[in-house]
Each structure stands twice: as structure tokens, then as C-alpha cells.
Subunit: 380 residues, 2 copies
């Protein structure tokens, strides 16, 4: 039997004040196209369906269209859990009714122990257990058993689930957590502060497959069958080199067979361009992906008037600009950037660019006087 | 066939900063008890299920428990529309899947034209058409037909629905609107400003029953079969004398048979008590409903120190206090209340109450001087 493992959709996310909804729509359409051509027995979403507990209505509508197509038209069951970005109660409304139509939202501990069982010829009965994201306090409170860390909580919850195992069933776990040693990206929101969010992969070894969510880079951890699918698209510049997509998992009666990365392509990629302004503008003129979401790192050593406007003429979606070439470092104590060139030289560059002429000797002297006066005032 | 018509639940509402959720829970339990003892063929909620478009999670959980019991255990279908307080897109998530389990959320115009058809021996096929609440702009935009008022919009939408009528079916309409001439309460939020929210009952006469929501007082308008169920509990002091509950509707093959008010009783009633402080406190000591939510109108003519604290010793849920006895009216121009007694007399009362002694002659003079000075300053 085959199922698709995805996670971390973050529908409704903004990136540098730009809505990613249309990119997300295209990516979801790619998932639907895949499912139409190569039907699977289930689709898994391992948490963070939405970017926040009260998602914008446009994100809810997009998700609604997706489930209408997948559960309705294609008749492929969806099994999902809330992640740390989702609101479990809000997401879980109508869960009891929705499961009758093939949408399985596992949003509480009772449902966690009632697996979604899918029977196929190749793998017999496969039980999908969803572990809704919860902090350790909630787990401790619910079970009245000690659990101070995410690792404790996972140990406890996995133990509860293992007690439900049936000899004739293969077992899949869906969880939203940070497996110790796995690789982070910039777009994940920490589950807790100070490292107590890490869980050992050892809790998971009795399952036939573990569909993980939370980390945005696709990766396996500890075993071939313990995997993050990663997010379906990039959510930070730090992910520029990550291969985004979903994971096609195959099981048979003996358990895990294979996991295959299926690529997905958002219309705008997120990437970083480094160089001097003129050189970047030149290359932009013939860049086929000029509409990507960009972080531009300008290496020029002199001041430039309105570089954003100049860049956006060729790269319309420059979302962030860094000018490391103009800084020699950041003075930690003062919280101020120190300039690689002196104030006077910077002003001279600026004047030349703004006025298309050099400072006269008198102007030079006047600027120097003003700077000297300001620097004196600034001293303690 | 019989169905229950309710509306305006406003789950999650606050009243003078007090959560009404536990009262709402009790009222919903009364509805469930009724349904257990006298099953009906459907339950209608004519809008304003929640008090706002993003309801608190506790309200969502309460609603979720209700549908699990009614659609799940009791197997009674629920048909509902969003009202002006609800967020239609948010409420409509999963609607396509939920209807398979007997929860019919009619949240858009396509679904409006696909009635929920319930067949019974007594009435044959009954088609329930839900008209989700929308402002005229949305209706105009969706149909590209003129509609500048709620009345225009209702005319248009009723016409669209009538085109779906089938000769063998009885027709029920569910709508959330303000029928012209009906009685308002203080707890309704106006649909629009300046009277353009009124719709004529004439649009509705071709239906066999019209289950209305929006107005909180149970009432019929124009015909016996055009009715507001009213809200299941009071939501303002202005509703203190309203009989709250739901409407049991009976139809047969010829159409409307009867509408019966079924009372519901919130644990805390909202009411107004008028009188002098001492008299109210005396009666409170033996009032079996001392826990009601109260507006107290103090008729005392003299100043009283901390009357709220004194009242709450016997009536713990005094939520609002008025002191008309101390005012002779409100100066419209100045926006200030004019005192029935002079400033000096009021201060004398206050001093006596606070200090348990009269002002000395010197104190009297000092107070009079201060008042005279302040009054002079206040003059234009």
C-alpha cells in the first residue's frame, strides 16, 4: 500500500508582509494533480496545516477546496494532526462527523488511541495513529503521570499507543515534534526554549513508519522509516537549497518498503543573491526566475541611493536587503552598526549619487564641521 | 412531521464582562433533554450560532459536544445558516463532508439552492432552504443583479429559491433578517444603519414555514407560519419579560399545521430591580433568585457610599447600577448629568456616610468655598 506523507503547510503564512497564499494554492494543485495520476491509499498531514490557530478565512477556504477535491471527488482519505501552529480545538470542530466522509482530524488524546485503519491487499490492515501536538504540561495533566519534557511526553504517549497494537496490523505514527539531532530551518517556531523540546527517535522504533512534522527540511532520523517530509515549499531564505516536496511511502505485510521524495515546485522560490548592485541588475535582466522572492546581499563598499527601487526594476520581489559591504561589523555594546567608511566619505558618495556632482570645497568643509559637531555631541 | 426552530444562540457571548457559557451549556442540555424525550425530524438554527466570527475555543467545544450528541447519538439532522454575528467561511469549513453525518451548514449561495430534503410519512418530502446571512452588496456582486437594500436582496434570493420548488415538496425557508414591523431587543446588532435592513414578509408567503433568526423576541410576522423563535435565553435587560425558548413546528402534506413555544430556562435570568437600597437589600435576603443577573435602579435621593458592594452582599450578580433618583435629567448640550440635589448637600450625605458624623461648621464653610470656586471656574 502507498500513502503520501506531507507536513507543515502553514496555509495563510505571510513572508516579509507578502501573502504566500497563491503559491500555496499552486503547490496544493500539484498535490492534487499527483493524486489524480497516481492514487494512494491515504494522505497524511503531520501538523501545521495553518500558520496560526486563528487562520485567515482565505486559508480556510483553500483548505476546504482541497478536502472537497481529495476526500470528495478523489475519495482519498486524509489523516491529519494539529501542529504547534494550529489550534487543536478550532481545527477539531466536527471531527466526529468529518471522519465519516474520510477526513480524519486527530485532535485529542481519545482519538489518538482510535487508529484510522486502512485495509489493502498488499499490506493487510494498516493502523494510522495520530499524536496531536501538545506541550508536556497538557500531557502530564491529562494522564496524571509525570512528564516534564517533550521527550517524557512522547515516551508516555508512544507507550499508550503501543498498548493498542494488534498483531495483524502494521502501525504508522503521525507526530509533530523535534527529533533530537535533526536539522532545523529558520521558519520553524521553537516548541520550547532551551533544548527541552527534543525527543529521542528510540520511542518510535516499534512503528512500521513514523510520519513526522515540525522541521521543514525533508530528512530521516535514526531509521529509514522515521522521517520528516519537510514543508511543501520554502518558508525562509535559509531553506534556499532544500529540496521541497512530499514523501511517498510504501508498506507491505512485513512493514516498511520504501520512502520516495516527490518534488513540489512553488512558483516563487526563496533565494539569496549576493554581489554588487550593477552586477546583480545586469544578471537580473536575463534571469528567467526574476520573480522569485529574494534576499539581496549588496557587497558594494560605497553608499547607494535607494538600492531597493533599482533592484526591484529587474527583481520585483526583493523582500529584504542586506548591505554587509558597507559595514565592518556590529558594535554589540552600542547596538549600532559601525561603518566601513567614514561618515564624510559616505556623505560624499551620497551627494554624488543624488546630485550628480562633487561637493565644492566650501561644501566639504561645512559637512566636515557638522559631522565633527555631531560626533562630539555623541560622546559620553 | 415535526421540527424544532431555534436561532440566535450567540455561544461565547459576554454580558457586562461575565461569560454566559455555563448558562448556554445548561440551555443546550435542556434542548438535548427535549430531543431525547420527544424526537423531531430536524433541528433548525436560523443564524448567530456564535456571538462573533472568531468565537472563543470554549464556545466551539460546546457546539461540538452538542452536534456530537444530536447528530451522532440522537441521529437528528441539524440544519443551520450563519447569521450576521457568524463568520460564514469559518463556520462553513468541512460543510460538504459534515452533511454526510447530518450536520447541514448552508453557508453559501450554491448550497442555498440545494435544499436538505427530509421525507416523512405525515408530510411527504419537505425541502429546507437555508439563506445564509449576507449584506446586499454581496448578493448584488454574486448575482450581478441590482440589489441595494436587504429587501431587494431577499426578493432576489427568494425568487432564486422559488425556482427550485418541486410540486411534491413542502418548502421551509431559514433566514436571518429583520422583517419590517417586528419587535427589536437591545441585544441585536443592527444589520445596517438607517432602516435599510428591513425586509417585507411578502417575499416569504409562498413557503410553508419560514424559520427566522436575528430578532431575540419570539414572534410571528404577517402570517402564522412566518416566525422568529427568538433567542434561547435573554441577552439584555430589555428582554426581562420575554418568554425564551424554541418553536416546535408541525407540517403535514398540506403545509403548516402549528407552531408551539417550548420554554427554555437559563439558570440566571436577566432582570431589573427598582427601589431604594435598604428595601432592595431586605427583599434580596429572601429572594430565591438572588443569583440572577441584575440591573439595579436605585431610587434613593441621597448619596450612598459603595452601593455595589452592599447590593452584592445579597445579590451577587448585580452587573449594572443606575441611580436615577439622584438625577433630574441629563443636560443634552453639556453632556453632563444635573444633580437633583445641590453639590453641597450631596457632599454632606457622602461625608456622613463615610465618616459617620456631620460636618462641623468650619468644614461646612470650607466645602462651600471650594464648591463656589469650582463652579466659578466652570462657567464660560
Amino acid at each position: 500500500m502507498k500513502f503520501l506523507h506531507t507536513s507543515d503547510w502553514h496555509l495563510g503564512r505571510q513572508f516579509h508582509n507578502v501573502s504566500l497564499l497563491e503559491d500555496q494554492r499552486v503547490v496544493l494543485e500539484q498535490i492534487i494533480d499527483y493524486l489524480k495520476q497516481q492514487p494512494v491509499d491515504a494522505l497524511i498531514i503531520a501538523g501545521d496545516i495553518y500558520d496560526r490557530s486563528v487562520p485567515p478565512t482565505v486559508a480556510i477556504e483553500l483548505m476546504n477546496q482541497f478536502i472537497n477535491l481529495v476526500c470528495g471527488e478523489l475519495q482519498i482519505p486524509i489523516i491529519l494532526i494539529p501542529g504547534n501552529h494550529d489550534g487543536a480545538q478550532r481545527l477539531g470542530f466536527g471531527a466526529e462527523q468529518l471522519k465519516q466522509a474520510g477526513l480524519h482530524i486527530i485532535a485529542n488524546f481519545e482519538d489518538m488511541l482510535k487508529p484510522v485503519v486502512i485495509e489493502t491487499e498488499q499490506a493487510g490492515e494498516v493502523a494510522f495513529y495520530g499524536m496531536p501536538y501538545n506541550d508536556p504540561e497538557t500531557v502530564r495533566h491529562y494522564y496524571s503521570e509525570p512528564a516534564s519534557t517533550h521527550d517524557d511526553a512522547h515516551q508516555l504517549l508512544c507507550e499508550k499507543i503501543r498498548q493498542q497494537f494488534k498483531p495483524q496490523q502494521r502501525n504508522v505514527l503521525i507526530s509533530h515534534c523535534f527529533v533530537d539531532g535533526a536539522i532545523e530551518s529558520d521558519s520553524e517556531r521553537p516548541l520550547s526554549i532551551g533544548g527541552s523540546d527534543r525527543v529521542s527517535h528510540e520511542h518510535f522504533v516499534d512503528f512500521d513508519y513514523v510520519a513526522l512534522g515540525h522541521l521543514h527540511q525533508p530528512q530521516k532520523k535514526g531509521e529509514e522509516f522515521i522521517r520528516y517530509s519537510g514543508s511543501p515549499m520554502k518558508y525562509s531564505f535559509s531553506e534556499q537549497h532544500q529540496k521541497k516536496g512530499m514523501t511517498l511511502v510504501e508498506l507491505n505485510r512485513d512493514g516498511f518498503v520504501s520512502a520516495t521524495h516527490i518534488p513540489l515546485n512553488a512558483p516563487h522560490q526563496m533565494r539569496i543573491i549576493e554581489g554588487e548592485l550593477q552586477q546583480i541588475i545586469e544578471q537580473g535582466k536575463s534571469d528567467p526566475h526574476a520573480h522569485d522572492y529574494l534576499l539581496v546581499r549588496l557587497m558594494d563598499k560605497h553608499a547607494i541611493l535607494d538600492p531597493m527601487e533599482k533592484l526591484r526594476a529587474v527583481y520585483p520581489n526583493v523582500l529584504h536587503l542586506e548591505k554587509p559591504g558597507m559595514l565592518i561589523g556590529v558594535d554589540q555594546d552600542m547596538g549600532k552598526a559601525r561603518l566601513a567608511r567614514g561618515e564624510f566619505d559616505m556623505f560624499k558618495d551620497f551627494f554624488l549619487e543624488a546630485q550628480q556632482s562633487d561637493l565644492t570645497q566650501e561644501q566639504e568643509q561645512a559637512v566636515k564641521d557638522v559631522i565633527a559637531q555631531l560626533v562630539r555631541q555623541d560622546e559620553p
